[in-house]
């Protein structure tokens, strides 16, 4: 089980995470909160991409001091990570395949209809197809904790259904951030409101 203790993060004078403590006891958690409440920042810290100013991230009650360990045990899909524009969808997925020794999930790729865009550069993709690329890239890592930042944004109806099914069938934990808690509640996610903790 993943948890955070007294986690704080400031951007200059602006405090984003004010000593937050959360236990992600459910295998499906949706973080909600007002814009700028630190949802994406929290996901980035959990993914080991950002350092907190103070506090700890814990896995099974053990402090994860090394960000590389956090990066290894999580996978994140977020618009906040700019993928180099020269990469095609295929190259990106093959890079993940090569570096993390995993396989491209052909079923998910076909269901999302992403195979038709395999040779397109990521900077030429529509918002929806870019989101699908990020999602496939995160799902294929098959990590213990999957971090999804606004996963259903920009997706069409069919792709949303594919996403909900993929999340339902995912064996590990999922922590999502969204501004649409009702949808996630329906899908069995526990809601964690960051605004409450502020």
């Amino acid at each position: 089980m993943l948890s955070i203790r007294n986690l704080s993060k400031n951007y200059g004078q602006q405090m984003v995470l004010p000593g937050l403590s959360i236990e992600f006891a459910d295998s499906r958690t949706c973080i909600v909160g007002a814009n700028g409440s630190g949802k994406t920042t929290l996901l980035f810290i959990l993914a080991g991409l950002l350092k907190s100013d103070s506090g700890n991230v814990l896995w099974q009650e053990k402090i994860l001091a090394n960000s590389k360990v956090m990066t290894s045990m999580t996978a994140i899909a977020s618009d906040g990570i700019s993928i180099p524009g020269f990469l095609t969808v295929k190259k990106l997925l093959l890079l993940t395949e090569s570096l993390w020794q995993v396989k491209i999930p052909e079923k998910l790729v076909l269901e999302f209809g992403l195979d038709a865009h395999f040779n397109k550069k990521v900077n030429q993709l529509s918002a929806g197809n870019l989101k699908k690329t990020q999602l496939v890239n995160a799902f294929m890592r098959n990590p213990e904790v999957l971090l999804l930042d606004e996963p259903n944004t920009s997706l069409d109806e069919h792709s949303c259904e594919v996403l909900w099914r993929a999340m339902r069938e995912y064996p590990g934990s999922i922590i999502a951030a969204s501004n649409e808690p009702a949808l996630f509640t329906q899908a069995g996610f526990a809601i964690q409101d960051l605004t409450d903790d502020h």
């Binding site: 993914a47 991409l49 960000s67 990066t71 700019s82 020269f86 295929k90 190259k91 890079l95 570096l99």
Partner: protein, 361 residues
């Protein structure tokens, strides 16, 4: 419709240049200090080079080498102005005008030729000669045609353009032509043939994309800035060597200026690499490839350091001088990495230090 489109592209280009200049004025102090002295000096040197070409003081191979440098400089300038020439900031709107592609390309080529400072400099040099003597400077005319060809070609096929410049460079090494005119005619014919032959489009099918392949792609996609620094560095050093041949008594001072200019350029590259790193940091961290980027950054540092050390040791026949410039470069590099805003100050201080040391000696 065609005239309207041409008018639109002209206005768009001028608007972009105005926008560019307004951005420059925002950074006026920084640019005046950093680029202010460098840009006029480079143009002045280019003008001097064209003057030397005009007087046919050089051998064929030297003249060709000089032309390669001028063409490279021109390519760098066009590359910097590419966004304005093609109106890339408003590309979607421009594309929505749905005009024929030949018209779009013609506008690109026209703007690249007419607003090309290097072509204008050559026209200036040619026009300074009385028309009665034009038959004696036909190599300048041919070089002007080559300049225009390269200006146009860089927008149509950059790969073929760089290939043509490389072939010109190789021709300068083998020295097969008896005169500059014959060499230029051969290069022009080569250029025309090169652009008429369609290159096969490579559609590589691969099912494996390892990290080293990614880094190859990454540096190929971001080669613009390192290439700019490398080109300007090589041109500066070649020009410095050219001046030293004419005034050997000023060798130390000339190399000192060239060396300090080099330190500033390479330190600036470090700042650019930092920006590149920041823009892609989350992605690199995600793939645990931050170290891969740092290796390249350190490699640039090591090569530049070694180059400066060897150059100054050779020029001054003293390893002490080489070591001193190596330390200056390292200081500038460290500042560029940790506190980029203090780079200029550090560089200016190092200039004062070097000049004082020169006087003491």
């Amino acid at each position: 419709m065609i005239t309207s489109y041409i008018g639109y592209r002209g206005q768009l280009f001028l608007y972009e240049i105005k926008h560019w200049l307004s951005q420059l004025s925002g950074m006026a102090l920084c640019l005046v200090c950093l680029l202010g002295p460098a840009i006029p000096v480079l143009f002045y040197l280019a003008l001097l080079g064209l003057g030397m070409l005009l007087e046919q003081e050089m051998e064929v191979s030297q003249a060709l080498l000089f032309m390669v440098c001028l063409l490279l400089f021109q390519t760098v300038i066009l590359d910097l102005c590419k966004d304005a020439i093609k109106g890339l900031r408003f590309q979607q709107f421009t594309d929505s005008l749905t005009v024929k592609s030949w018209l779009v390309r013609s506008c690109d080529c026209f703007l690249a030729t007419v607003f090309n400072p290097m072509v204008l400099l050559n026209v200036l040099v040619i026009s300074s000669v009385s028309t009665a003597y034009w038959s004696q400077i036909d190599h300048m005319m041919l070089f002007l045609v080559l300049q225009i060809l390269v200006s146009v070609a860089i927008f149509l096929s950059p790969l073929k353009t760089y290939l043509l410049i490389t072939l010109t460079f190789l021709l300068s090494l083998v020295q097969i032509a008896a005169s500059v005119e014959i060499a230029l005619l051969a290069i022009l014919m080569l250029g025309v043939v090169l652009f008429l032959i369609p290159f096969p489009k490579l559609a590589l099918q691969f099912n494996h994309y390892p990290a080293w392949f990614f880094w190859l792609d990454f540096w190929w996609a971001n080669i613009r800035m390192p290439m700019l620094v490398l080109t300007v560095s090589v041109i500066s050093l070649l020009i410095a060597f050219g001046f030293v041949q004419q005034r050997p008594d000023l060798a130390n001072t000339i190399f000192l200026v060239a060396g300090q200019f080099l330190v500033l350029l390479v330190s600036g590259l470090q700042v650019e690499l930092n920006k590149l790193m920041q823009n892609n940091l989350a992605f690199f961290k995600l793939y645990q490839e931050v170290a891969g980027f740092c290796v390249v950054k350190d490699l640039v540092l090591a090569i530049a350091g070694l180059f400066v050390f060897v150059l100054f040791s050779y020029v001054s026949s003293s390893m002490l001088s080489g070591a001193m410039h190596f330390i200056i470069l390292m200081c500038c590099f460290l500042v560029a990495r940790q506190r980029p805003t203090y780079l200029l100050l550090t560089w200016l201080l190092s200039c004062v230090f070097v000049v004082l040391l020169q006087y003491v000696n």
